[in-house]
Amino acid sequence: MDILPQLLINALISGSIYAIASAGLSLSYGLQRILNFAQGHFMMVGAYAFYAARILHQGSLPESGVVALLVMLLLGLASLYIFVLPFSSFSPLLPFVTTLALGAMLEASVSMLFGVNVQSISRGLEFESIEFGGVFITPIQIVIIVSALSLLSLLGLLVHCTSFGRRIRALSEHRYAAASLGTSYTGTTIIVFCLGTVLSGYAGILVGLETNIQPTMGASYTIKAFAAMTLGGLGNLWGTVLGSYLLGLIENLSIGLDFGGYSLPAGYKDAFAFVIILGVLLIKPEGLFRRVGRRV
């Protein structure tokens, strides 16, 4: 039996989700040098906002999507103004602690509002999986791959072909030099941070549609996003995107690989991915991909 094509497709799917979730985080890190420990919890909140709109209030798919993304926009603004900006002129360790607190608060609030049990947001959307020459794929998974490709291309256009993108790149390269030439640091930071939040909320909805949602799902996605960023180099946008797909590939191939008749049990794929992250941190902390000249 040849399962390699199926594993490659699965790698593409999980890589797409990590890429959507961590691309904004990477841009934000480039600007602020701050790790957001609530990243995965933002995904969880996005999925629950979608759940509330679609299942509890019987909204249609596009309506629920718009509501969820608006919630994410507001959450992003509130998080930035309350949990990040007041600490920006002090030790860079402080936002780690405050975003950890933010993540715990989001998880606790969602548990209190919606209960701790597993919920489904794809109710009423029964899809047949489609077969292409031995490879199975569901329509949701096609949506995941296509949205990743289109969102990442749009992000690429934004960063490399617009004046706003030029501002992001200038500020990431040298914050004070760019600010002294009249670029607004705070304004750019707000837009980039909210963009990252909305993107991770969208990734959360995709995860929810593909599997289930639970208040405790956030922490593991935070770690996955950090893992993708580490593989690609912190603050390196395209490195992070490549790192996301590489992470998906590592996770899925680690199950399928055959070590002389002994293959790794499926449950170990997370552990295997994190061991690789530790290895990369110890051997090549700047990430696997060389930054050509400039940041971003």
């Binding site: 607190a101 608060m105 701790v116 941190l281």
Partner: protein, 307 residues
């Protein structure tokens, strides 16, 4: 005339003697060791080690497995927990020597993720999410620590020994050098301190104490599973140390009392479902953490002044 206050004191005494109060005291002892050991590495050493609860988990599983599978005695179990947790923490130490703050935070988080993934998936050893049941209470020199009261005496002795050792450590030149290295490692190095060695020892010692706390936890509950060692637990330990002021021995001890005993007990008087109470407690811990960090943001981790 004295009846009302007397009644109050009798009632108070009864509560203190009750099984439930004993349970709280045992929990307090375990968390005192856990929080104080995190205080050593984070409060004094300034090392943001998010894998501290992972080493606590390693200690708990070591004791649980040795006592159920091999019937090893209590002191050997706790010693093995301390050593194994401490030795595995050397990996974290190695990461910290190579990486600056942001990268180290990710590295320690990845380490704790590896540990929890192994606890869940290495089913032949840890039984996965089912956990390890039937951990026997210790027995030593003819004394059976099976009853809660006897077990409490045992926990008190171990806690006092650990806290005494840490109290001496907090006053030693080791802690002063560690604190100096946290403020400026270049300055500490130029005064002849071996910063790398200091930090490795700090990781080893604090994780070994966390391992002992884990061993006590396993003995006390008789049952452990991976859900007791999540990131939520790490946030609780971090909250205790930040609320008690990082680096302050008595402050952290008082904060442990507040957050492990007084706050949950106060919440029990609220008319709420148990399913809401757990998340509410988690929410209040995180809120308290945020408020304390917000109020002390200029003092908590002083930024080095540039000359």
């Amino acid at each position: 005339m004295f009846e009302a206050p007397l009644g109050f004191f009798v009632g108070f005494y009864e509560v203190l003697r009750s099984e439930y109060a004993l349970h709280l005291c045992v929990l307090l002892g375990i968390y005192l060791i856990l929080a104080q050991s995190f205080n050593l590495v984070f409060g004094v050493g300034g090392l943001f080690n998010l894998a501290h609860v992972a080493t606590y988990a390693i200690g708990a599983y070591t004791t649980a497995l040795l006592s159920t599978e091999l019937n090893v005695g209590v002191f050997q179990c706790l010693l093995a927990s301390a050593l194994l947790s401490g030795l595995l923490a050397l990996i974290i130490g190695a990461i910290s020597l190579r990486l600056a703050t942001d990268y180290f935070a990710i590295g320690s988080l990845a380490f704790s993720a590896v540990v929890s993934a192994l606890l869940i998936n290495w089913r032949s050893l840890t039984r996965g999410v089912l956990g390890i049941p039937g951990i026997p209470r210790p027995e030593w020199g003819g004394i059976d620590f099976n009853g809660v009261q006897n077990f409490l005496y045992f926990v008190i002795v171990v806690t006092l020994l650990c806290l005494g050792a840490m109290w001496i450590l907090f006053r030693s030149s080791f802690a002063r050098s560690l604190k100096a290295a946290a403020q400026s490692d270049v300055a500490a190095q130029s005064l002849g301190r071996d910063v790398a060695r200091l930090r490795i020892w700090a990781f080893f010692i604090s994780s070994a104490f966390a391992g002992i706390a884990g061993g006590l936890f396993a003995y006390y509950l008789n049952y452990i599973d991976p859900s007791s060692f999540s990131l939520t637990e790490m946030v609780l330990v971090l909250t205790i140390v930040v609320v008690g002021r990082p680096g302050s021995f008595w402050g952290v001890a008082a904060a442990t009392l507040l957050l492990v005993v007084l706050l949950p007990e106060g919440l029990r008087f609220l008319p709420l479902e148990p399913s809401v109470l757990g998340p509410l407690r988690q929410f209040l811990h995180a809120l308290l953490l945020f408020i304390v960090v917000y109020m002390n943001r200029a003092r908590l981790f002083p930024v080095e002044r540039m000359v």
